[in-house]
């Protein structure tokens, strides 16, 4: 029985048991998500906001009288919607402290890592849905982009890939937020601006030099390039950026695991997270 894997007298490191904990935490995150939103609060509260966010940022192009800039930023901002949802993983991780369950997770046999990562799965879904909606809306709105073609089927794939990498970045910083929960919203909000700028999401021109290198290493950067290729109708040219986004996401996943382990070790030594 799957639940037996969760019972243990000491720390567990068996992959199947860790995955069982992860899966259990993912189910809880999904139920929390469903308890937080009704379909109408999600559509009216979140989706309207991300569409307006993309339009607002793109309006810099309208301000300077350049349609091409507006269209470029609209695609980038639609991609950045994935991060808007994903970065909420940081404040949501600290919910465990507010509920008084963080300390229990630290001393549990599976430890903090699988349960925290599992609790962030809803952010992946949320970010993916938000970015897909925004990208479809932007592709449908822009006159020079053709939405109804087979390559557009890659849009949700890109959205989920960008939500994945952004969630992993968020979980890297969630370890710090767990230790200083008062800073949870500050960490997540301050991260948004550097991420959208350095990834090139809202820049009117393609980043060059060191900035281009940084944009390749951050979540969103490769995904945005891929989506802009899709807007031009170059499906083949989008595959390499997709792979890049997934690789960057996986690198941040390793960083997230390391960060959560540090938080666990700190909390164990100092009896923190209470």
């Amino acid at each position: 029985m799957a639940s037996d894997r969760l019972a243990s007298d000491g720390p567990i490191d068996e992959p199947a048991s860790l995955f069982a904990t992860f899966r259990f935490a993912a189910v809880i995150s999904w139920r929390d998500f469903r308890a937080l939103y009704r379909w109408y609060t999600y559509v009216g509260g979140w989706l309207v906001r991300v569409l307006a966010q993309a339009a607002f940022l793109a309006s810099v192009g309208l301000l300077v009288g350049s349609e091409s800039v507006a269209h470029r930023i609209a695609i980038g901002a639609a991609c950045a919607s994935a991060a808007t949802g994903a970065l909420l993983a940081i404040p949501l991780a600290t919910m465990e402290r507010a509920l008084g369950t963080a300390a229990v997770l630290v001393v549990s046999p599976a430890g903090l890592v699988p349960s925290m990562l599992g609790r962030a799965v809803d952010r992946l879904v949320d970010g993916g849905v938000m970015s897909t909606t925004a990208l479809v809306a932007v592709f449908a709105y822009l006159p020079e982009v053709q939405l109804l073609r087979p390559s557009s089927l890659l849009l949700p794939v890109f959205a989920v890939a960008m939500a994945y990498s952004s969630t992993c970045l968020a979980m890297t910083l969630a370890g710090a937020a767990l230790l200083w929960p008062d800073a949870r919203n500050l960490i997540s909000s301050t991260l948004t601006v550097p991420l959208t700028l350095l990834s090139g999401a809202v820049l009117p021109h393609e980043p060059t030099g060191r900035l281009a290198l940084v944009s390749h290493l951050l979540p969103l950067g490769n995904g945005i390039r891929g989506c802009r290729e899709l807007a031009l109708g170059h499906a083949a040219g989008a595959l390499l950026p997709l792979l890049g986004e997934l690789l960057v996401g996986s690198a941040w996943l390793v960083a997230a695991i390391g960060s959560l382990r540090v938080a666990q070790s700190w909390a164990t030594r100092r009896a923190g997270l209470v």
């Binding site: 609060t41 009216g44 906001r49 500050l186 909000s189 700028l197 809202v202």
Partner: protein, 254 residues
Amino acid sequence: MSVLLAGLRVQMLISLRRVDDLQLLALVPFSAVLYLTMLAQTGRRDLAIVGVLASYVTTVWSLAIYSGGDLIDEERHTGTFAPLLVTPVSVARAMFGRVLAISLLGLVGLVEAGVVAVLFFHIDLGIDRPWLMAGSVVLLSVAMAGATYFFGAVFLLTANARPWQNAWTYPAFVLGGVLAPLRVWPIWVRVPGRLFFLSWVMDLFAVATGRSAGAVLLPALAAGGLAMATWVLAWGMLRWAIRRVQATGAFDGV
């Protein structure tokens, strides 16, 4: 007057200790960098003032939504809402100073964004008509205080308003023409936008900064009228909601 000053003082003390309020102010330099970088990359450094004003306006609006929404919630949370209802001063009057304080706090954001533009982007902000600018800021602060009042009333009336807080941010910035003026937006944005005081205040800012040679009287009257309407609506909603709470005893949610 003493109630007003007490409300101002209490809210200032709360906001200066509240991480969420301070966070909004801490984010101003970041948003200023975002808008100013975007504008600098397009080669239009002459429009930098738009980036500065956008940072200020988005901050003061966010303060109205989040702090205004939390006004009643916090009273409920700390168990002081029921005693507040039976004090000799009405809740609506007691809240008056508090919403003004939240709105005034937003002025810090204007200074922060200006400092970022001058120090880090070496931009001359170039305000053509300083008195009109100052008047517009005062008008915006009063209007935003009305909006804060409005959100406080909405939260008192609706126990489940929190998921909607997000929906009131960026759509309002679009309707207010915070970055690009309303005239460049499609008609379905322009019409509802003109029913929102922010779009008229942004027109006044455009004249004050020399980006527009338009009239001052019409936007000033429209912004003042709509700000007044926001105040009246919020005041009425708050009084009605409080009467309902007093009648039903539902102190934890109407």
